[in-house]
Symmetry: C2
Subunit: 305 residues, 2 copies
């Protein structure tokens, strides 16, 4: 039995920026839900991360559209936005929506209207650098048969606080060059994220169109509830489904998951190279790199912040 | 062991209209996916059904916004639209989106753009009768503290065809007087619907904001995969989660589910009075009424078409 301690785990190396911002809050007994929002806001606000928030790469029409979700592990309340424009911090709106009695998932213009009428910061999320990438991609696509879609790195954050409360958040600008209104798994509960403070949580990043084909974040939490470690629960949830897709004649694309149990035990599963960041108690933010290896990834420390 | 036979099951009494339209197709060896679309289109096209398609009740701004999803049980391909305007048959667009390699879930203006550029019928989905109900409700709300939200009856259809292929579809105009852009569980895989042709399928109707708090359609399919009957799988998936919400201090609202196994065995679970329709082989369309009774509903035949 691992002794419970405050823990955050996030997807991709960019998560380290979020953990550095949020761990001091958790160390001061803040709510896990607020730590998740602090961490994701730090990533959304950084224009260098081209798949989340400000500086995220735009859709085929050249417009940045964001998806984000928040879930409270104490009571299963969910808030989410999808296909949202001009919202500076989609995760903050998602957290606010999780407190509403209804209308918790808002898409398109409705998400922006809610943000506008509830005092959230609006801004044009397109940076000159992202606009330039869009122009270059348009030229490339005119001269090739390339699959236009890439850049599907969602930042997911799971937090466990000093009072054993848990929360999860996700935020992304989705596939670069996606159709207007395209939504992936990130705002979809069960597929993109799930958390139960009495058991643990899990969240996904990768090709949303494939990840939404099964509720593997929900399934990982269910399996952790039977006593499995985070790693073993992910192993039993994720890899058999990827194999099942192949059995049915499909070509599975990228699947990467993080999980965190209510006792601080954490793990990941992935079928592609996948960096992630973790911080526990008063320790440093540690970045790991995971490489797929059958049904167990090989995990190597990348750096400590 | 029940002998497999072609079967359709749908939510609410309106499903009978859809089953009557689609069963002749299944009896002529059509694909389950086409039967699902035929059945749901018949419901969408009927202006008398005020929670689905044409004649559906509008949002707070007086605009009809629809959600629909389609899932192919052979390969887990999903297509869905959410917060969609002016699409005559959202289920038909969802079926088309399930065949795309990416961009399978489209929301808001993006859904309408796809429908428009792919030759689908567009129309104003607001009927004079629905507009009048909106005007009356506005007046009532001005004079009361009533919860404005009702009319959350999603039509869900599960089909099993003569070649043991399965599919599921959902379609709804969502909560009457919802916020612009509000989306419920109906387009969300795992929560609102799930199907695996080798096991079975399940789908939900009720208060989407609560149904999305757990992936119970996915969970019901998983449990049927362990050998449980449709009824027993639903019983183990649905009622414990409703109890868990209560344990966490929440007040669960309406939860109703249908399930169909790959051998034709079907069942339902509900915490409110819930009519549903079933047809098997060359038998008639039978409408049942279910009343909640602890963890087993009481089911009585309502009528045969």
């Amino acid at each position: 039995m691992i002794v419970m301690s405050i823990t955050m785990i996030g997807t991709w190396e960019m998560a380290a920026t979020g953990l550095a911002a949020a761990m001091p809050q958790l160390q001061n007994d803040a709510w896990a839900g607020d730590a998740v929002v602090t961490a994701i806001k730090a990533v959304e606000d950084n224009p260098n991360f081209q798949s989340v928030g400000f500086g995220g790469l735009p859709n085929a029409a050249g417009i940045v559209e964001t998806d984000a979700a928040f879930m409270n592990g104490d009571n299963f309340r969910i808030g989410a936005v999808a296909g949202a424009r001009d919202i500076a911090n989609p995760i903050a709106v998602a957290q606010a929506l999780a407190q509403e009695p209804a209308n918790n998932l808002l898409v398109g213009t409705g998400a922006t209207e809610y943000a506008s009428t509830h005092g959230f910061v609006l801004k044009n999320m397109l940076t000159p650098k992202a606009a330039q990438k869009w122009t270059e991609k348009q030229k490339q696509l005119a001269n090739s048969e390339l699959n236009p879609y890439d850049g599907h790195d969602t930042v997911c954050m799971l937090a466990l606080d000093s009072q054993q409360r848990m929360a999860v958040g996700t935020s992304t600008s989705g596939l670069f060059m996606k159709r207007t209104g395209r939504v992936g798994d990130s705002p979809l509960p069960g597929a993109g994220y799930y958390v139960d403070s009495q058991i643990g949580g899990a969240a996904a990043t990768g090709m949303g169109e494939d990840i939404m084909k099964a509720s593997l974040s929900y399934e990982t939490v269910r399996l952790m509830g039977t006593g499995l470690s985070a790693t073993e629960a992910l192993r039993q949830a994720v890899y058999p489904f990827i194999a099942k897709l192949q059995d049915r004649g499909e070509k599975p694309r990228e699947f990467s998951y993080v999980a965190l149990r209510a006792d601080g035990d954490f793990g990941i599963a992935t079928n592609v190279p996948f960096p992630f960041a973790v911080a526990q108690a008063d320790g440093p933010v540690q970045v790991y790199n995971a490489a797929p290896n059958g049904d167990h990834p090989i995990i190597t420390p990348l750096k400590t912040n």
